[in-house]
């Protein structure tokens, strides 16, 4: 296929990449930002004076609880931290309730799960039609004898816990956010979005090695 776009070979591209100078401080800040916002590291160094360690600990406790499947515990902790978060975030609240149901099903507590679905989740669907579809999917887990092999088995996956945990984490961060450039605002997602955007823009003008898999960051040749 004939193309009027400029073609950049792998070699040329890598040369260009290597020519970009990054300051070590910027790299450190980015890594620190990631570690702090994701809760791996409680003692940031370098800039950032205004982080309240207690709030980071609280936030991490919530995240951990969800990741371990103790959703009820997580909800109580969030409410202790800031009762407004779940009161003003119907989608987040729904997802937490949904996760609770999933955990009950995972533990084989079918009757309790049914009760919970009827008492807690059904009203969410009534209050807000947007949730009905996801609700149906989740309740579908109850229908199958072997939930781990049904069409909606992804809900039982651990990754779903991580997804919910991440959602809660973000909401807490939002409520705690101070300055616009606070180190508590996760920077990595924005950078990744910008990368994708830049690639899309460049696609219109050139053929060049892409990063297609963000998790590996591997360059793929233009012909692939």
């Amino acid at each position: 296929m004939a193309t009027s776009k400029k073609v950049i070979t792998r070699d040329e591209w890598e040369k260009k990449l290597n020519a970009v100078k990054l300051r070590k401080e910027d790299m450190n800040t980015l890594v620190m930002n990631f570690l702090v916002t994701e809760g791996f590291f409680l003692f940031p160094y370098g800039e950032t004076a205004e982080i309240d360690l207690a709030t980071i600990t609280d936030r991490m406790a919530v995240k951990k609880a969800v990741q371990n499947g103790n959703v009820e515990d997580a909800i109580e902790k969030v409410n202790d931290l800031n009762p407004e978060i779940l009161d003003t975030n119907p989608e987040l609240f729904f997802h937490l309730q949904q996760q609770r149901l999933i955990e009950l099903i995972r533990q084989g507590k079918t009757e309790e799960a049914l009760e919970f679905a009827q008492e807690e989740l059904a009203p969410r669907g009534e209050e807000n039609q947007a949730f009905l579809q996801e609700l149906e999917k989740t309740v579908a887990l109850l229908v199958f004898e072997d939930a781990s092999n049904c069409p909606v088995k992804d809900l039982l996956d651990i990754s779903h816990r991580l997804k919910t945990a991440s959602e809660v984490n973000a909401a807490i961060l939002t409520s705690q956010s101070h300055e616009k450039d606070s180190s508590l605002n996760p920077k990595l997602p924005s950078l990744l979005k910008m990368l994708i955007w830049a690639q899309n823009q460049l696609d219109e003008k050139a053929v060049y090695p892409h990063i297609n898999d963000l998790s590996t960051g591997q360059l793929q040749n233009p012909s692939e």
Binding site: T110, A117, E127, S177
Partner: protein
């Protein structure tokens, strides 16, 4: 409703559906249990119960309602008032705050419990968490319309307010801003606040946390609204730095921040537009609000009202919005079919109304999107604000005089069986009648078309309403001097609709009033020009003469169809009417032997064949006295025999009607005339009609 679906999804391992009712009652039991523990004298038990209630109701509107009904609020209020233990204070305040969060019944209950002063006192606690809990709850209360009035004019209250704004605690300063945002109402209050230096305090919050920023933006909007002095003071702060900050915030990552900053700018623009000389700012304000319209939550609701307020009366902004594709975006949202909040509906319709108020392009664009069904539904919405907004929208859109626009109007099929329908109230018919008198012939034509469609399948009441409207204006003026063929066509259609009862054959009681009036209408029509495709309406004589005359003149199929339908309708009337039609069909003496009915029955146009057969059906309806004679005449003229040739007509409609005629015919053949051929024909016809 949804619990029924859950029933179906129930696996067979559970015992029976009664487990659901027991689930419901066991949850009820649990609630009653925790409620009783609220009153426990043991502080440990009480604390645990408070925490439980709090955790159950947060985010859960259903539980808030059920606990409310149990009387939880007064119980928690007592716990708050009677205790000095910090943990209990925190939990009970948080619970009360949650009851008040976005839940009007909850706010009411909290205020009724008389716990408001106690919550205020919490703000002076030495325990930061107690202060936080108190401040949050109070902020929830102040976001409601039921919040107690705050008298800014009292010095003590001002002092208290400023002590809140000065607080290091972000919940407390946020509360101060919230009080201003929701309680400040009058110009005097705005003045007093500004003079006390509130603007300087508020802008500090712009650099604070998210909730502080949002509270600040809300309160700024309230203080600056319609107050040029306040606006000038605000803009003057640090040489416009804060106006820039607010403008920058319209690009913030959080939608609510974007919304609130936009609303703030709208207020400033509406109050003192001179600060917005930059087209770029105006344009980006419009586009940001348009984007926010897509937010499914509260921000979207408020963005719609904000947009309507921004573009109100401002042609340049309306143009900007139109160019930014506002109309299509808004219509798409309205068409999504999901239940939209009344506030959002109101805002969207008001925005459309504003867009259509001055710009012809907007109106055409809007009406070409086939929004009229939605608009009509909105006219019947149970919220009065939505109805009003839809009416204004309709009225503005209808100002357009382009034919295409009116063409869309004519596609309205309105069902207003109740005479008090909003459409009539707002002069919908009047509007169209006015337009039907326009100087522009195309406009007249389109208005008549719209009227005609309105009358389609209209019941007697609607027709009478039309007559009463029209009588007031004088019907004759409906037809102006120069007739265009289109006008005549529509006028005939209109009259057709007015004089039609239903499409189905009915020999039973006609509605004489309507029919008479229809004929009277016909009689009043003013003379126009004759040409080969037009009908002439005599002022003096019955239209029938003219219709008949035209029919005998070999008209085009379309005209013939209309003419035959006129005859059909007339023939569905009284004996006199039927006879009059017969006169037209077979005038004495016959000048030409030209029998146009036969011609029509042999036409290629199925509608013409059908209309002709209808006329025959009405003429020989067995219940009328002269039917036999008319049948004889029709037979003599070869009409009935012709019909017999058409029993297998290609058009189903025609075929059915012909069979009707022939079965009617059977009743006319006198039994004394038992001629073998007749018998044979009759037998085969019966066989054909009933056994094929």
């Amino acid at each position: 409703m949804y619990s029924e679906q859950l029933n179906l999804a129930m696996p067979t391992t559970t015992t029976s559906s009664s487990s659901f009712s027991s689930a419901a009652s066991s949850s009820g039991n649990r609630q009653a249990d925790v409620f009783s523990r609220l009153a426990s004298p043991d502080p440990e038990v009480k604390l645990k119960a408070l925490r439980e209630v709090k955790n159950q109701i947060i985010g859960n509107r259903t539980k808030k309602l059920s606990f409310l009904k149990l009387g939880a609020v007064p119980a928690i209020a007592s716990a708050l008032s009677d205790s000095e233990c910090n943990s209990i204070l925190v939990q009970s305040a948080a619970a009360l705050g949650s009851f008040a969060c976005g839940f009007e019944a909850g706010v009411q209950a909290v205020l009724d419990a008389g716990v408001f002063p106690r919550l205020l006192r919490l703000l002076t606690s030495s325990d930061e968490k107690v202060v936080d809990a108190g401040a949050r709850s109070l902020r929830m209360i102040f976001q409601s319309n039921q919040a107690p009035k705050y008298d800014f004019l009292q010095e003590k209250n001002m002092e208290f307010l400023f002590s809140l704004l000065n607080s290091e605690n972000e919940n407390v300063s946020g509360l101060g801003a919230s009080i201003i945002a929701h309680a400040c109402g009058t110009t005097v209050e705005q003045q007093v606040l500004c003079e006390a230096g509130v603007l300087e305090k508020l802008v500090i919050l712009l650099d604070g946390s998210l909730s502080q920023r949002e509270a600040c933006l809300e309160s700024l909007a309230t203080v600056l609204k319609n107050n040029p002095e306040a606006v000038s003071r605000f803009v003057g702060l640090e040489a416009g730095r804060y106006l820039s900050s607010v403008t920058e915030l319209t690009k913030d990552r959080y939608p609510r921040t974007r919304l609130l900053s936009c609303l703030c700018l709208v207020v400033i623009y509406n109050t003192s537009p001179s600060y917005f000389l930059n087209m770029g700012t105006k344009s980006s304000l419009v586009t940001t609000l348009l984007e926010l319209l897509n937010d499914p939550g509260q921000s979207g609701d408020e963005a719609a009202l904000g947009l309507s307020s921004l573009i109100a009366e401002k042609e340049d902004l309306q143009k900007l919005a139109y160019e930014a594709n506002a109309i299509k975006n808004i219509v798409d949202i309205l068409k999504t079919g999901s239940e939209l909040h009344p506030k959002r509906l109101q805002g969207l319709f008001l925005s459309l109304a504003e867009l259509c108020s001055k710009l012809e392009d907007c109106r055409c664009s809007f009406l070409s999107l086939e929004m009229l069904d939605l608009l009509v539904n909105a006219l019947r919405h149970n919220n009065a604000d939505v109805r009003t907004a839809a009416c204004i929208c309709f009225r503005n859109a209808a100002r357009s005089v382009k034919v295409a626009v009116l063409g869309a109007l004519s596609n309205i099929v309105l069902d207003f069986s109740s005479p008090k329908s909003t459409f009539i109230e707002y002069g919908g018919i009047k509007q169209l009648i006015e337009l039907s008198k326009s100087m522009d012939p195309n406009t007249r034509c389109s208005a008549l078309r719209a009227l005609r469609n309105l009358m389609f399948l209209a019941d007697k009441k609607r027709k009478e309403l039309f007559y009463s409207e029209v009588k007031a204006q004088g019907f004759v003026s409906l037809i102006s001097g120069k007739q265009s063929p289109l006008n005549h066509n529509h006028m005939i259609h209109l009259i057709l609709q007015l004089t039609t009862k239903t499409k189905t054959y009915s020999s039973s009681d006609p509605e004489p009033t309507v029919q008479e009036q229809g004929l009277a209408l016909l009689r009043n029509l003013v003379d126009g020009c004759i040409n080969s495709i037009e009908f002439v309406f005599d002022e003096e004589g019955l239209i029938l003469d003219t219709v008949g005359r035209q029919l005998r003149k070999s008209p085009q199929a379309q005209m013939a169809i209309q003419g035959m339908y006129v005859l059909t309708n007339v023939a569905s009337g009284t004996e006199l009417h039927k006879e009059a039609v017969m006169q037209q069909l077979f005038p004495q003496p016959q000048a030409e032997s030209n029998n146009f009915m036969l011609k029509f029955l042999q036409s290629h146009e199925s509608q013409l064949r059908s209309a002709t057969v209808w006329t025959i059906i009405n003429l020989i309806s067995p219940s009328s006295p002269g039917a036999l004679d008319r049948h004889v005449k029709l037979r003599e003229e070869g009409i009935i025999p012709q019909l017999k040739n058409m029993v297998n007509d290609a058009c189903l409609d025609v075929k059915i009607r012909i069979r009707t005629v022939l079965s009617q015919s059977m009743s006319f053949v006198p039994d004394t005339l038992i001629i073998p051929q007749v018998k044979a024909v009759r037998k085969s016809l019966y066989h054909y009609l009933y056994h094929s």
